[in-house]
Subunit: 599 residues, 2 copies
């Protein structure tokens, strides 16, 4: 953890009999991704430190790996280069009862790290060997210790839940981009090639909260990735004939869209199916603007806004402006032909979540314009973007796009949702002919029913708590929860959070356990049509923290001020966790009797 | 043909040997439709005239059928009532070489005909028997003769084509609602239960032209059906949250929508598929307004407009107004999420045909408002409909909705069509896994390619010839024709018409023969998914006349004035046909050398 370029291992071998021993190790370069071989133009270097060099297939980024082996005993070594890597074989003889220690050191650098990858990998390996395993392990343990001090949650009352919750954090910390200035987290972490290593809204809505409250610098790193990839979002908007920033649904290098037009394969015909995730999930731009704004509101720190965040928000608002329509007769404002968080219903009109998110983005653009009215950086920005006329249009449109929901009403997920067949989840499930078939798109079993994949209206209520009373949240929860398949790992967390909102942690508990333990139990869907979508679930990992901290503890931080409204389930006696507010670490302790803050 | 309630037949039997003869006849009431038994509550009446009475299942309309048999020779008769009807058996003995004549008379009345159906059926049977077959046959032949004098086409040069063309007219005349004041023609005529006996845009776009030029009263009858069913169209618009008149895609009794939300069955899963014909084929309202306006322009007779036609046009324009959107930033006018004539591409934006049709409807509403500015009937209408504010909105919107296409350009069928995969018809066909599978909806093999079901841009050019130069039509024809599957019997006729427009009747000929002979060869598609869509093709029958008269002869009538721009294919030496203009029959003769008008 102390150095992300370095891998170390120590093996202590104890022999039960006299033996001739062979250890095979080296660098295996037979690496494939979903498009075929991942690396090209291999070459290898033998010696006490062996190295492999190659270039990635698409972007031709150089990659270098070096390996050193430290054996504190005499042995023979052979090295061999094959088409699949550089391998080394160690041979030695031992007697029964003897011990041997094998320390391995490997270093990885790419052309994105600066300098010459081959030289840096070699040098790091050399230095690691010199420092030795113990020294490096101590540094590694120190680094983890520092991380845990800032985030570990003590949950007293249910050991399994405590384990699952901290395992979730372990997964998150393992993939958090501490080494980078701007970088985000793929939807399946580093667990495989599912979703092509792309970054989704998961980062802003499900990972941002834990980081902004425990390691705000990491939250900044995630958001700087979006600031840095603004050009990709501008290109995508233009591709569809819109202005402003339409962020990729699956963001790849440089903000390129990785989502294809055919994201599901039909299990009956084995033909690709046209899906609209790429084109219609426009809430992504709102989600990013939302997180940027939340960073400012939670921390009171406007540096991100000034370093490009304001520009992102303005460009997202401009995108929504150019994407929105008015009815020709009534002038009503609409966002047509979208997909909300619930992906089983494609191409819907006025998805409540999307409209609210877009309106919020527009409101924030206007607020920023007010805040920085006299600021030179902002005047220059307005001029650069020739934004003045759009500000006037936004001022008119934003309030119209923010739909008013009558107090207490169940919010319709999108126009016409309530007219869909109100079939139970069991009925819809009974129509499934093939366990891998996809429930969405026009042909899916859920598509024309009220069964939804994941929290949508409830996600909106979680993100805009001020818009709805506790009673309204409860009424909506009780309507939508039974109609939710929870076919996404992003779903249960929102329902758990909102059950705490109306003070029913008992209803949250099952969703909490499911969310926190998803990567221990191997839960979650593994197939979307014929496409494999398994792997680890960073968003659920972040969701587990959200439920514990924002739900059970009821944590809320605005402008550096902490408030807690605890709502502990009966299963938890004590919940103790650190948060970092304005650079200061505070340990919060919540029991069934109340809460304290220390630090 | 003289009396639509009466069926007569004469059998002359010649015997080659001595024999005991049995003739079985009667009234079979075992009638089923696609929803089950068609009739309920049967009762029967025996006697010299046998009768059966019943009520239809859904609307409980009384139906009466009577039968008389005239045998000019002695015989024994038994009558028997079973669960399936009333049957009669005649037994007699003959010697070799003798003749016997059997005349059958049957009469049918329903509760929609006025009076008591049972009494009227019985009385008509009685009267028919008294008048005798010869008299009735003469009246029938006279009636047909009168019809043929007004419409038969003499085509010299290709006997098969001549036969097919007049067979098409025979089909049309057999189903034309001459007996009614307001009634239209189902898409499969009276040939079966396909499409549930519903009326489509076929009536206004493909049947209206032949009737308005040969029997204008029939054209009026078709259009009065739309005037009479305006309430159904108002209800449908309201059901979808729009104002004005949204006519049914499949119009049933009283203008009720007969099209379902699931109009195709998937051949792979056998599950119903959500289709959007009902919701999105909004051009239907424009097609009806178009025909109403054309009736006025062709005949110069504004009686239909005053008898409700103007109200229909205003309500259709209002529907388009409430269905249209403006971009929130640019104010551009759009018709979003529609299906044009090409049903393989559902839910598209700004279909050129639909936008043009809607703009025309709006323009006509404005023209009518100008024409009748001082008229009391119109002032009362505007007040009844509280239409004044909408007129202002239309005046602003109509010109913006009428997209300008650069001269000579291939018109994009809808937003993004040119970006679709440009796969050849053969390539798309090669992807078909089941010959009955439907090519449209999101999963269809054509849906995301440029392969279209039927004329769409070319249909627009046929209906709005003044918008496009001959060269532009030709360029579009050559682009779209190879990409057209002609999966609808409405397609070839438009391509044939437009080939004449750019003076290439040789390119029209194949489409003409295919259109005219569809019901002789058993052509056309018989399946949409698992739904049978076979039967006769009135629209193609009307289309055959359109190609001959409007294409090959180049007939155009405006305000009672005839002009011809002949474009005869090499296969035709002479084309001679009557038209009725302002109550006067004129015979037009077209040869390769020119044309004459007599009468």
């Amino acid at each position: 953890m102390e150095n992300p370029h370095l891998l170390c291992s120590k093996m202590v071998l104890t022999f039960m009999a006299d033996a001739d021993v062979t250890i095979e190790t080296g660098i295996d370069t037979d690496i494939w991704d979903i498009n075929g071989p991942h690396l090209f133009h291999y070459h290898y270097q033998a010696g006490p430190i062996v190295s492999a060099f190659a270039h990635t297939g698409e972007l031709s980024i150089p990659v270098a790996v070096s390996q050193a082996v430290n054996l504190n005993f005499p042995c023979e070594e052979d090295q061999q280069v094959t088409g699949n890597g550089i391998f080394r074989t160690f041979r030695f003889r031992v007697k029964a009862g003897e011990h041997r220690t094998v320390d391995l050191f490997a270093a990885v650098y790419t052309g994105l790290d600066g300098g010459k990858p081959a030289d840096r990998a070699y040098a790091l390996c050399q230095s690691a060997e010199e420092q030795g395993f113990q020294t490096l392990f101590a540094a590694h343990a120190d680094a983890w210790d520092k991380i845990w001090r800032g985030s570990a949650i003590e949950l007293i009352g249910d050991d399994n839940a405590a384990l699952a919750l901290n395992a979730s954090l372990y997964h998150l910390h393992s993939i958090a981009p501490r080494h980078a200035d701007n970088l985000s987290v793929p939807a399946r972490g580093l667990s495989g090639q599912t979703y092509k290593g792309a970054v989704f809204w998961d980062s802003e809505i499900f990972l941002f909260p834990v980081f902004v409250h425990t390691e705000p610098e990491l939250a900044k790193t995630l958001l700087r990735y979006r600031i840095a990839t603004l050009p990709g979002a501008l290109r995508k908007a233009a591709e569809y004939g819109y202005r402003g920033a339409f962020y990729p649904w699956e963001s790849q290098e440089g903000g390129a869209e990785g989502c294809t037009d055919y994201n599901v394969t039909d299990v009956f015909t084995h033909r690709p199916v046209r899906t609209y995730f790429r084109d219609k999930q426009i809430h992504i731009s709102g989600d990013i603007a939302y997180a940027l704004w939340r960073y400012f509101k939670i921390t009171g720190d406007d540096s991100l806004l000034k370093e490009g965040g304001a520009e992102v928000i303005l460009q997202c608002a401009r995108f929504f402006l150019s994407r929105a329509h008015r009815r020709a007769d009534s002038g009503a404002a609409e966002l047509l032909d979208v997909i909300g968080p619930d992906e089983y219903h494609e191409r819907v009109n006025n998805n409540a979540f999307t409209n609210r998110m877009a309106a919020f983005c527009m409101e924030n653009a206007l607020t920023i314009a007010d805040m920085y009215r006299e600021s030179d950086f902002f005047k220059a920005l307005l001029e650069k973007l020739t934004y003045q006329a759009d500000l006037e249009l936004l001022r008119d449109l934003a309030p119209k796009l923010k739909k008013m929901h009558p107090e207490g009403a169940v919010v319709e997920q999108f126009d016409g949702y309530f007219k869909l067949e109100d079939a139970s989840l069991e009925t819809v499930r009974s129509r499934v002919l093939d366990e891998r078939e996809y429930w969405g798109t026009n042909h899916g079993v859920a598509a024309h029913t009220q069964v939804i994949k994941q929290a949508d209206v409830i996600a909106m209520m979680a993100l805009f708590p001020g818009d709805f009373s506790d009673e309204t949240v409860e009424r909506n929860w009780r309507y939508y929860e039974p109609r939710t398949e929870h076919g996404s790992s992003l779903s249960a967390c929102m329902y758990a959070l909102m059950a705490c909102r109306f003070r029913r942690p008992d209803l949250a508990w099952e969703h909490f356990v499911k969310t926190a333990s998803i990567d221990l139990t191997g839960g979650g869907k593994h197939w979307a049509g014929e496409i494999y979508i398994g792997g680890t679930h960073p968003a659920a990992n972040g969701g587990a923290w959200m439920i514990a901290a924002l739900g059970f503890a009821g944590l809320s931080v605005e402008n550096g001020e902490i408030t807690l409204t605890p709502c502990l389930p009966a299963q938890i006696q004590t919940l103790r966790f650190p948060v970092t507010v304005r650079g200061k670490r505070v340990t919060l302790t919540v029991t069934q009797d109340g809460w304290t803050a220390d630090g």
